[in-house]
């Protein structure tokens, strides 16, 4: 490892720590009970709902697509699938806003600015499926076909085949993708700001609003929420990797030839 890359890594590592230190510094003396207002409670609930729904749907659809394309070996479909990745989130939000703010065939069920946030979820799924696909398709590329052949020889049912011959290898990329998506979607601004509703607002939108409008006092609420959320995600990441460590190590060793 060269010296410059070591320095660069140190700088990159120092940034999140600086961020967290800043948040802690800003929230010293903050009256935490202020967060117990209805806007924040409702925001937490709707954020969890939107984040988990979009993330899980993206993971399932992305994996399914990667698997199908791997099985069928259709490379043109694989390259076609990537293109939503190159559309910025704000452009995607506008696209879906234009599609669903009136007159679309399923208008009523799917509608921009309604409280079930279906169009927000749809936008995220459309944007994140290619990301999951990319994360997973590599794993499929390296998959040892022997496991699948063995599972077939043993005459396991298709679902069982998937569970023993594919799933163990997918844990790592899916876990990575899960946390990337959760961290991103749960505190993003553009998409829910354009497609969401006035009440309840997603965490990112409400935090930005409290940060920039009205009294400066409200800014501390946003800092506090950002701090809690960072710690929450950090804990989640550590816990989930610790819990799956044993299984992942066994698989990584097993894959060595």
């Amino acid at each position: 490892m060269s010296r410059s890359s070591l320095w660069l890594s140190l700088v990159v590592l120092a940034l999140p720590f600086t961020g967290v230190t800043f948040l802690i510094y800003e929230t010293v003396g903050f009256n935490w009970s202020e967060l117990n207002d209805e806007a924040w409670r409702a925001s937490l609930a709707v954020t969890l709902y939107v984040t988990l729904t979009s993330t899980l749907l993206s993971l399932m659809i992305g994996t399914w697509l990667a698997r199908t394309i791997y099985m069928k070996r259709s490379s043109w479909l694989a390259s076609l699938l990537k293109w939503p990745m190159f559309v910025p989130h704000v452009a995607a939000a506008y696209l879906f806003y234009l599609l669903f703010s009136g007159g679309f065939p399923v208008y009523g069920l799917f509608e921009a600015n309604e409280r079930n946030h279906l169009v927000v979820i749809l936008t995220y799924v459309w944007k994140e499926v290619p990301f999951v696909f990319l994360m997973v398709v590599g794993t499929y590329g390296q998959l040892n076909h022997g496991y699948l052949d063995m599972a077939k020889t043993l005459q396991l049912k298709p679902l069982e085949q998937f569970r023993v011959a594919e799933w163990p290898f997918l844990v790592k990329p899916l876990l990575d993708s899960f946390w990337v998506l959760v961290a991103f979607i749960s505190f993003a601004y553009e998409v829910p700001a354009l497609l969401g509703v006035t009440f309840p607002e997603l965490l990112g939108v409400l935090a930005y609003e409290r940060l920039t409008t009205g009294l400066f006092l409200n800014a501390f609420e946003s800092y506090a929420v950002a701090l809690i959320w960072t710690l929450f995600i950090f804990t989640g990441v550590v816990a989930s990797y610790a819990l799956t460590a044993k299984q992942r190590r066994r698989i990584e060793r097993g894959m060595r030839r």
Binding site: R3, S4, W7, E38, A39, G102, N113, E114, R115, A193, G196, V197, T198, F199, E209, L211, T212, T213, G214, L215, F216, A219
Partner: protein, 389 residues
């Protein structure tokens, strides 16, 4: 490694330079300020959401400044609350040389900036054209005394606009407007109260019910219950509201709602002429209308305060104010007292009062009411959520 050391040295030098600067001072007279400001750049931070306003600054004001004072004006579009916030961070970090030289501000942003001591004082004595100002407009900013921390730039009133091709019998009072929404469900809405205009609309309804009795006090529960009864007949049954005035204007332009609103009685003219707003757009003056003044201020750590003084003086000149009020660019009301101008200038202003979408100026002036203070604005922001639910 050698490179790295160089970089480290550079970074620490920049850091030291940032710490070591002192505050720039305003010259004692305007002539000296103008001399100092020659060949400098003034960074003008202002809300950039309106094309007409941006064009007025870029196409009209900036070339004039270049020609008369040899000074470059750099317009930086940013939300007001955001740059006030940036300034307050500067203050806390003792940053004596900032990036903002001049800013456009009013209302609770001004109140916040004044409380946090982010602005330079005694501006009026240094600006010759300040003598022409309308003293009443200059005195207070949405209930907060200005104390020479800001200079009035424009003075407008709140009006609604409606599409006369769709609305046959426009309401004349806020009560009638409520009834009109019941008869035309889904055709009216107002921006969220975090938005400047949305909050002002709710203040008008508050004034219609309680007039001056709630100033700086509490808003009775009955008001919120009454306001909730509007919801079922608003756009999307009141389950959501436009996030900003720009979004409401879009809904109005596309014909989804039939009314829009805003400060500045002349704001619809340019939009209608450009074909954005419907041809039938007309002004709607209800029983009262809040008058609002917007201001210019110089931050405590402006790098080029002399340049800022020169720009303010230019923006207050009768010619620049006249061009601002003309519908070509902006259509913003003047902050000058017309009686203090000479006859030719005064006549030029009076001639501008003709536009298809303008309200009757006499009637609008009669119905003008002063704004509630920032306390009421905050209260509405805090308590309106129960209506939005």
């Amino acid at each position: 490694m050698h490179r790295l050391k160089q970089l480290g040295l550079l970074v620490s030098l920049v850091f030291l330079a940032a710490c070591g600067t002192t505050r720039a001072e305003i010259a004692p007279t305007f002539e000296e300020a103008a001399e100092e400001a020659k060949q400098s750049t003034v960074n003008f931070y202002m809300w950039g959401g309106d094309d007409g306003i941006n064009r007025y600054i870029d196409e009209y004001v900036a070339p004039r400044l270049k020609e008369t004072y040899d000074l470059d004006l750099n317009r930086v579009p940013m939300d007001t609350a955001e740059f006030v916030r940036q300034l307050s961070l500067d203050k806390r970090a003792n940053r004596e040389e900032g990036t903002i030289d001049l800013m456009w501000i009013n209302g609770d942003n001004f109140r916040n900036a004044a409380e946090a001591e982010l602005l330079q004082g005694d501006l009026l004595d240094k600006i010759p054209n300040a003598a022409l100002l309308n003293e009443e407009a200059q005195a207070t900013d949405a209930g907060t005394p200005t104390n020479g921390l800001e200079v009035a730039w424009g003075n407008v009133q709140f009006v609604l606009h409606y599409d006369a091709d769709k609305v046959n019998n426009p309401p004349t009072t806020f009560d009638e407007l409520h009834r009109w929404t019941e008869e035309n469900p889904g055709r009216f809405t107002y921006p969220e109260v975090t938005d400047f205009t949305g909050n002002a609309f709710v203040r008008h309804l508050l004034y219609a019910e309680y007039a001056d009795t709630v100033r700086d006090g509490e808003i009775p529960d009955a008001f919120w219950e009454e306001l909730s009864t509007w919801s079922p007949n608003l756009w999307k049954q009141g389950t959501t509201y436009p996030k900003s005035l720009a979004q409401l204007d879009q809904l109005y332009a596309s014909g989804e709602v039939w009314m829009t609103m805003g400060f500045n009685e002349r704001r619809a003219e340019a939009e209608r002429n450009a074909g954005v707003f419907p041809d039938g757009t007309r002004a709607l003056t209800l029983e009262h209308s809040i008058a609002s003044t917007h201001f210019l201020a110089v931050p405590f750590n402006a790098k080029n305060p002399n340049g800022a003084i020169v720009v303010i003086n230019e923006l207050l000149s009768p010619e620049a104010q006249l061009a601002k009020q003309d519908a070509t660019y902006w259509g913003d009301g003047t902050s000058l007292d017309l009686t203090k101008l000479d006859a030719t200038d005064r006549d030029a202003f009076l001639k501008l009062d003709e536009g298809v979408t303008y309200p009757d100026p006499q009637r609008l002036a009669e119905r003008s009411i002063p704004d509630y203070g920032p306390a009421v604005i905050d209260l509405i922001r805090e308590e309106w959520d129960r209506v939005a639910k």
